[in-house]
Symmetry: C2
Subunit: 310 residues, 2 copies
């Protein structure tokens, strides 16, 4: 059986056109990918990445290299058969655990390695990843996940039962394979774009058939956010979904004040209004501005914090 024999990482960075990708924090972003490359003795390559934004990408690559070395000499089928236990062991690896657990550089590095493993597994079976996932039994699927510290809310048995109960209705959901998912245009309203560029981008998105688009907010000047949100609503029309993303820049008092004002233009959601660790602030804000909804997750550090959010 083929075994993983070459392991490397790549610090891949991509400059963006002027203003693109900018948000309330990242004024001059470089899209960066901490890439893990695994090659087995049959010459199959798996690649995985974790996204970052800039110089810190190098640190993630170094940590990913460290974790990935644990896979050397192992067949991917063996790695994936108990991938949940392996992920738990890697997160507890004593050389790096003090940097976590399950946070920041070490969590991103583990994500990059995890993605490379999944990619190599699908390639070694000669199927797309979605097909591999559908082919797994509920127990096999759950064994790929580290569910530790969730036991009080979700045991492995409950998770497998949850998947099994939905098996009979699976064919009804497979239409997505031909019809696809509806997309939204995330590029109309990057933070650094001048108002007129936002307006023109929205016009183009509407002309291309988009019915959903996102604006970056979180400016130190709330009037700027409100003015630009109204521009997007005006051009997108009453029926479009307009998402607003503050990239964690508001304190709770600021978020309460501005979200109440922004609700007048009926956002589809407000994304990352404040610090991603602040569970109670999100709860307070959600209650205060309902039915306007919050979205977050991109920066929620790990499944334990997610459990607390739930």
């Amino acid at each position: 059986m083929a075994s993983i024999c070459k392991i490397s990482t790549r610090d891949a960075r991509f400059a963006l056109p002027r203003g693109a990708g900018s948000d309330a924090i990242h004024r001059d972003p470089v899209y960066s990918y901490a890439v893990t490359l695994l090659e087995d003795s049959a010459g199959r390559r798996g690649s995985g990445l974790a996204f970052t934004l800039g110089a810190g990408n190098d640190l993630v690559c170094r940590a990913a290299e460290f974790y990935a070395q644990r896979l050397a000499g192992r067949p991917i089928e063996e790695v994936m058969a108990e991938f949940g236990a392996l992920q738990r062991a890697m997160a507890n690896e004593q050389q790096f655990r003090w940097l976590g657990p399950h946070k920041g550089v070490v969590q991103l590095a583990l994500a990059s390695v995890t993605n490379a493993c999944w990619d190599l597994w699908a390639k070694s079976r000669g199927v797309p990843l979605w097909r591999l996932l559908l082919d797994l039994s509920p127990e096999q699927l759950i064994a790929t996940l580290d569910l530790s510290y969730l036991e009080d809310e979700l045991t492995a048995q409950q998770a497998a039962d949850f998947v099994r109960q939905r098996l009979p209705s699976r064919p009804q959901r497979e239409g997505v394979l031909t019809a696809g998912y509806p997309g939204y245009d995330t590029s109309v309203g990057w933070f650094n774009y001048p108002d007129e560029q936002v307006r023109e981008n929205c016009r183009q998105a509407v002309a291309e058939g988009f019915t959903a688009m996102k604006l970056k907010v979180g400016s130190p000047d709330p009037e700027r956010d409100i003015r630009r949100a109204n521009i997007v609503r005006e051009v997108a029309g009453d029926d479009a979904r307009v998402m607003l993303d503050a990239n964690q820049q508001w304190t709770l008092p600021q978020a309460l004040a501005i979200c109440r004002r922004l609700s007048a233009m009926r956002p589809f959601w407000i994304e990352e209004p404040t610090h991603p660790d602040d569970i109670l602030a999100h709860k307070t804000l959600a209650a205060a501005i309902a039915p306007l909804r919050l979205a977050l997750g991109e920066h929620v550090p790990n499944r334990v914090i997610f459990k607390n959010y739930l």
Copy 2:
């Protein structure tokens, strides 16, 4: 005025005697310090460190080097006059923020730089740090702290008022300068020590006058934890404070089961029973085992999670 002109970091690691320092996670620990060194043009040196446990120390040094470079050419008095704002700006530094915010490698790196700044400031004033802190006005002290995302619970004004209200009673607390704080022996019960070594260490600690000591628990085998906790209680005596530290190894169901059993030997506290991010699990556990108390903080990621715990 002297300015910071030399900046470096040092990855300092120290091997420990066999078994020393071990806990439920770290079976073979290397005490490691990510050290930041700042030197000003008058030749004064400030050093700061963040503790880690092993190979990951290198990543913290690299991040600390990155942050510390922002201080080049600046007088330490200027840096510290608005240190809170500077810390906020550094935590938001766009090259590294995706790795946080306020977590793991970047948070530890900022801690190392922060400590070096305080050390250089005290040395440049020619006083010990405790004296410098007492010499600051409440407003000057609070300006050294980044209180962002705490506004809903604690504003800078409230924090300064809190300090000011306690100024008149300060002399009553200055006895600590001559009498010191009572200490505890944290070395009697490292995880890897055999039972007999724990027993002998406790005897020595008692003989040296310690009335408080700590045992590492969190074994996969709960009977081992209970047996060893009883050994410590037996040797330390009924009146000693015996602290138990599980280093985050129990799930909530495990913690509930074993803490109920451990309460029979009356621990002074149970430290880090489960995942440090699991606010609600700690709340559930604390309620279930009261009056037995929990201790944590060493791995709580940042002030925002602390706010949620409160």
